[in-house]
């Protein structure tokens, strides 16, 4: 009983953990509800879309991490080996990527993916998922890169950095192990969690936009099923439109979770994930602050 109480107390105090558990419970409940009331093909499609979206989100994090980490190391290498021009070029490119609205970059990238699909260079769904993930990670990695660079800059100002250098410790080790690994993991995890939200948001938005049309030769059926893709289907749009009905006819709300489940579930997963990701990320930063 004591252990259970302690566990509950800890969960209550750690907001990130609380919201993560809340998220898992919420999604489990939704899946159970869908198992009971949603027709089998639609439920299978929902599960596939959910899985694909989360795989893309996870891959984006992996690629974004390695891109940022690689760029940080490249930056240090250039600082040591060459003059400042190459460094300025790197900073300039990253600054420019940051300034282009993310959705525009993703849209331009999707034009290329669409062209590749049209020319039948890529047919495999896994390759398309990988391409989407790489594209999204290129668009969002500057945020993580900036976090890493800010941490390094912060430690470079302190005596600790110079002391370690004087002791003869390799600069790469100080940066990668002592600063990024030992002292910045919390910040990096916080950024990765919020980037997961950004990746999911961009992915769903772009898939939804494709439903309006990017090409006559490529339609939603050419892309792997994702949450945005599923939401853009006509029956899901009808389900979302049904929410508006409740304004004029409030009693219609009773019918929503039974008759408009596909669209509502998809929208719920997207919104609930974004909300929980925000809360988890906020919880992590509060925990670091303590």
């Amino acid at each position: 009983m004591k252990t259970a109480n302690l566990l509950l107390y800890k969960i209550d105090k750690q907001r990130d953990l609380k919201w993560f558990l809340f998220y898992l419970v919420g999604i489990q409940f939704l899946l159970l509800w869908n198992e009971l009331f949603l027709n089998k093909p639609a439920f299978a499609l929902l599960k596939e879309a959910f899985l694909n979206s989360f795989i893309i989100g996870a891959l984006v994090l992996v690629f974004a991490f390695f891109l940022s980490w690689g760029t940080v190391n490249l930056r240090l290498y250039l600082t040591n080996k060459f003059n400042g021009i190459l460094l300025t070029i790197i900073d300039f490119i990253i600054d420019t990527i940051k300034s282009i609205p993310q959705i525009i970059s993703v849209l331009l990238g999707y034009i290329f993916i669409t062209l590749i699909i049209t020319k039948e260079t890529v047919k495999n769904e896994t390759t398309i998922i990988l391409l989407i993930s790489v594209l999204l990670s290129i668009v969002i990695f500057p945020e993580l890169y900036e976090t890493m660079i800010n941490r390094i800059k912060y430690f470079k100002k302190s005596d600790f950095y110079n002391s370690m250098l004087v002791c003869g410790i390799n600069e790469y080790r100080i940066m990668n192990y002592d600063i990024l690994y030992k002292n910045s993991v919390g910040f990096i995890i916080h950024k990765l969690v919020s980037l997961f939200g950004v990746a999911l948001f961009l992915q769903c938005s772009i898939d939804f936009i494709i439903s309006v049309g990017l090409s006559n030769d490529v339609s939603l059926s050419n892309f792997p099923a994702t949450l945005g893709n599923l939401l853009a289907k006509m029956d899901s749009k009808q389900d979302i439109l049904a929410i508006g009905k409740t304004i004029s006819n409030p009693l219609y709300i009773i019918k929503l979770p039974f008759e408009h489940l596909q669209g509502l579930s998809t929208a719920f997963i997207i919104v609930f994930t974004l909300l929980c990701v925000f809360k988890i990320s906020d919880g992590i930063i509060k925990r670091i602050g303590k």
Partner: protein, 372 residues
């Protein structure tokens, strides 16, 4: 300052050159086999023979071979291109859909600039509203935390526990239940608001699509401000700045020296917090607020790109004709990539101009604070 301006300018030039290069290398229409296509198009447009008739086509091929016997392959490809042109006449999406827009002309530029003007109107109103609302929400949250106000959920649980507890008199228990019910509804409204704020704009838009307001400019602005999680993200950033600023040494010194530190004060009434020009004279928070506002200016840079992302999503997903980003999507569909690049450049220039003005403002404020 000049260096910053130069950097922004170089950035615009770089992106312009990059996009034009991509266009010329990969996206330009009908560049492959251009000389052959020119001959084919001329022959096709002149309609000297019936290209639907295989006999007449073979005759043309023979005539071409007689006149240019050394280039049989070229002649063969000319005939093949004519066949493609004929098929295109019946299958090309642009021709079928009545799209007469064949790229970037003066008329198209004029039309796009008109749309761009309205895009800018939405963008500017939204950025002012978000900036103002975010400050209000952040101050409200900061003051609530300082006042020690507990969350609706915690208050609800406490009141419900008191109601269940049989030790308390019946009248008190009834009162506690009333409070719990009120808190439940307040919490419910807050949850719904959270769901709307975190919803991607197209989810909210589609749920009320078809109503009289759903195609209006005001609706677009409201969507840009209140959806996509933008407002809450920006509010939290300002809240973090307030929190960080409140922990600084000068705040403690001011409090020790006797500056007002009481947050349960009429200065923090709703009307004072909502006011556009916020002032808290004689209170330590005034200094915290002013310093946080100074640092928050740089956040507008990020807000700018994020807000444009939101507006682009709204305009594209809502599928309303006459808006810049819808036009961009249509041109992607018609493969008029020169028009697409022109629109992308306009949007990028908007972000860069905002960044430049933010830099100017920040620079001026820094100069002002350093000199005073």
């Amino acid at each position: 300052m000049q260096k910053k301006a130069f950097e922004h300018l170089i950035s615009v030039v770089f992106v312009a050159v990059f996009l034009v290069a991509i266009y010329l290398l990969f996206l330009k229409k009908e560049d492959v086999n251009k000389p052959k296509m020119q001959i084919s198009t001329k022959l096709f447009e002149k309609q000297i023979i019936d290209f639907g008739d295989n006999y007449e086509k073979a005759l043309l091929f023979d005539i071409l071979n007689i006149y240019t016997p050394d280039s049989i392959e070229l002649n063969s490809s000319i005939i093949s291109n004519i066949e493609d042109l004929q098929t295109e006449k019946f299958t090309d999406f642009n021709l079928k859909s009545g799209n007469d827009n064949n790229g970037l002309s003066f008329g198209v530029i004029k039309k796009i600039l008109k749309m761009y003007f309205w895009f800018l109107v939405i963008y500017l109103i939204a950025i002012i509203l978000i900036h103002s609302f975010a400050k209000t929400f952040a101050i409200w949250k900061f003051v609530k935390v300082k006042q020690g106000t507990r969350s609706y959920f915690d208050e609800f649980v406490t009141n419900l526990k008191d109601y269940v507890n049989n030790i308390l008199p019946k009248a008190v228990r009834k009162h506690k239940l009333n409070i719990a019910v009120k808190l439940f509804f307040k919490g419910f409204i807050k949850t719904i608001s959270y769901f709307i704020i975190f919803s991607p704009s197209y989810v909210v838009a589609y749920s009320i699509k078809g109503s009289s307001i759903s195609d209006s400019l005001i609706f677009l602005i409201l969507l840009a401000v209140f959806t996509n999680g933008l407002l809450i993200n920006y509010s939290y950033r300002f809240y973090s700045l307030l929190k960080a600023e409140s922990k600084k040494g000068y705040v403690n010194t001011a409090i020790v020296k006797g500056l007002n530190n009481n947050y349960k004060n009429p200065l923090f009434g709703y009307k004072k917090i909502i006011k556009f020009n916020k002032k808290f004279p004689g209170h330590v928070f005034n200094h915290i607020y002013l310093n946080a506002v100074y640092q928050n200016i740089l956040n507008i840079k990020e807000l700018s790109a994020l807000l444009i992302t939101g507006i682009v999503i709204i305009e594209m997903a809502l599928n309303i004709q006459g808006y810049l980003c819808y036009e961009m999507l249509q041109n992607i569909l018609y493969k008029n990539y020169d028009v697409v690049i022109f629109i992308v450049l306009l949007i990028f220039i908007t972000v860069k101009t905002t960044e430049f003005f933010v830099d100017v403002k920040y620079y001026r404020l820094t100069q002002k604070y350093e000199n005073s």
